[in-house]
Symmetry: C2
Subunit: 440 residues, 2 copies
């Protein structure tokens, strides 16, 4: 058997510690499967003295990850620092420049600098693997880079953020509001103290940008993503969705259209019968539609130290085995420019929740505005206040919720119709708009 | 770019035709992704004159696949003939002996001769890839061989036969019996004229034997599989399952236990809330439980020419890219002997449907027999005939269905209890027994 492959791990947080433990625990199996032993020989973290439950004294220690990337006697540099700049970026670049392979879980870095890093990796005959950067333990990067080679992909979509999915699942199960669920997610460690990045969709967008490039062979376009978070979702929406046969999920969707590729992150109505609708709690799921294979769906843990470590180690084992896959599935020079499909051209069905003043003619105004914009309605549900909170008598000034489900139309038509409705003074507040995703 | 990789396709049925078409249609993409063009240069089928919609005259033609494997100027031999002996086996062996890589969709061949073929492939530095042999378009072989390298796997299970899943799904949705569903599946082309191999579980067992080896690093033991088909499942069982919060699926399960590895194929009660319960129709799904990753589930089409071709071409693209993975995930010499866990030691919950004579003391006999065998009951449901078919008055000689759900116990205890119950003459027919699978 060849000499052991030497691994340097930069960042000894939850994931870094799991990687070190996994490589030790399953060393024999990994060697059998890869044809080569793999050993951690160098580490980098801030505090050398911290008790980590294993002996760092036998390892080469670097307080500066960039120095480790530049100088350590290693074959693979594992970047688990995080962030799309600073030491994460600098150390990854330094390693690749030396021809040292890189394995990373850093979605922000890949989304921001993936193409540049791919070029750098190619120029130096180094691998850059990042299975853990998208959907944690789910092997979606490998599936797209390798298993789908024979397919023209029309759409890739998924639940890519466990925090949001946990919140939406709890809101539905318990009938409680967003703020309360968020607080609980924070208490349980499923949400950060500052949850903005998760609940506003940025985290999903980073992962989607990587998936889009892999699925469509285009350059990564992480700043060209339509993004809406889940903060506006109310229990009223979740309840209405349930009654209409839907569930609400925060999806990242990349889809080929006639005018280009849509990249969008937004709360989405998915039919209860779809596979994606059944993904609850912190789980992630990714679906890929290929012209030959049809649709395949991968489900699993999207985060957590051990699940993420599983993907990091699979990336290491691939390198140990000698499997060298182009960073973005093909040589960087072959990646096409990303051509954005304008969101206003998006086609689909829509869920609209209006708060309507119950005046004579109000319904007619709404129906006319939709008709004028060329929109057909699949259903209209007027939701009276429930019995115990019903107004004592008819009061035109107490707005009533009205739910509209449209047939397939365009974003521009919907916006036009809603503007018309707003201008007529028949609705009490900004309408809620949730896109319906067409699924099998 | 290197010279084109030459592919010979043996067998031009549905899958073979799809492979030829796919390689032509997506030639440019496959070359970009693999770093090497891939071209079909030789084919073998029975009838050269048959119109296949493409020109075979430019290709090297062999009426004998073994001759093609022995003589054609090819880098990869694609075996799509089928069967675990005869020309399929002979041609695969002939190709490997020459050091020609082999890609096959042949589950029977792998299940029967996988270890021998792995040795032959290793001895001749050839790859043997077979993604399409298990669960069609789902990349489960790659996931187990590569993505799970860093995990100790405790269980792999799945819905591996689309015909059975179609029948069970229809029985539940329409409330119709097995025979009627089978006839419809045959009419729609989802079931063979002779469906024995599917509905008795053999097809699932072949696939399970391969998964077991990949998951546990053991030699393939395809004749050491406990097997029960779906022919005994009645609408009464499906309805009772529904009322108790379960669905019935034909699962293949391989599970590590204290006494060895269980391999079993049988109808299984799965909680409605589980991911596997939602897999309907001809879809397949495979779940893997790893100590680091947790559970991942892959869902997709398990059959069909195009989906199968997608996996065949992914295998070809891997070889084109230079990715050489050991046939069974590690060198054949490192595979451990399969140690069978006795089915009588199987532990789990059970669903039991009895047809009980409604005599005084009958219930007490049943309860005592279960208690004597050390079995605790989670629920007992006596299912009176529905109102419109109720007997006019109490009649001890008209048997009534009684459903028992047990807490976790052993197969041997259940068998002992059922024998005791049978011996007391309180039940009118052979009890129905369906195992409950513990799922997340």
């Amino acid at each position: 058997m060849a000499e052991a492959l030497k691994v340097g791990v930069a960042g000894l947080g939850t994931v870094g510690m799991s990687v070190v433990q996994l490589l030790a625990k399953h060393a024999a199996q990994i060697a059998r499967k890869s044809g080569r032993a793999v050993a951690v020989t160098a580490v980098s973290a801030r505090d050398r003295g911290k008790d980590r439950g294993f002996d760092v004294s036998t390892l080469e220690w670097f307080s500066d990850p960039v120095e480790m990337a530049e100088k350590a006697q290693i074959d693979i540099f594992v970047e688990l620092i995080g962030g799309d700049s600073g030491p994460a970026k600098d150390s990854v670049r330094a390693a690749l420049k030396r021809g040292v392979h890189v394995v990373t879980a850093n979605k922000a870095l890949l989304a921001r600098h993936g193409v540049d890093l791919a070029v750098l990796a190619e120029d130096n005959n180094a691998c850059l693997n990042y299975e853990a950067a998208v959907a944690g333990g789910i092997p979606i990067v490998k599936t797209l880079r390798e298993s789908m080679s024979g397919n023209d992909i029309s759409r890739v979509y998924g639940i890519l953020n466990g925090t949001c999915n946990y919140i939406l699942t709890r809101m539905e199960a318990e009938g409680i509001g967003f703020e309360e669920c968020l607080a609980e997610a924070q208490r349980l460690g499923y949400a950060e103290a500052d949850p903005t990045f998760d609940v506003e969709g940025n985290d999903t967008a980073h992962k989607l940008a990587i998936l889009t490039s892999l699925a469509f062979g285009t350059k990564i376009a992480d700043d060209d993503i339509y993004m809406e978070g889940i903060t506006s979702i109310s229990t009223a929406d979740i309840q209405a969705a349930d009654e209409l046969g839907f569930r609400i999920k925060l999806l990242g969707v990349a889809q080929r259209t006639e005018t280009g590729i849509e990249q969008r992150v937004h709360p989405t109505m998915v039919p209860k019968t779809s596979a994606i609708a059944r993904i609850d709690g912190v789980l992630n799921a990714v679906a890929v539609d290929g012209d030959f294979v049809g649709e395949i769906v991968l489900v699993g843990p999207g985060a957590g130290g051990n699940a993420t470590a599983s993907s990091v180690v699979a990336d290491i084992a691939d390198i140990a085995r000698g499997d060298e896959t182009p960073v973005l599935g093909m040589p960087a020079a072959d990646l096409k420019e990303y051509r954005r499909a304008r969101m206003r051209m998006h086609e689909g069905g829509y869920y609209i929740r209006l708060s309507v003043y119950d005046r004579p003619g109000a319904f007619a105004e709404i129906a006319r505005s939709m008709g004028d914009a060329g929109i057909s309605l699949e259903s209209i549900v007027q939701k009276r206040h429930s019995a115990d909170e019903a107004p004592a008598k008819y009061d035109a000034e107490v707005p009533q919720p009205v739910i509209l489900i449209t047939y397939e139309t365009t974003e521009v038509a919907i916006k036009e119709a809603l503007e018309a409705i707003m201008s007529k003074g028949v609705v009490a507040e900004q309408p809620q708009l949730i896109r319906i995703e067409k699924l099998n």
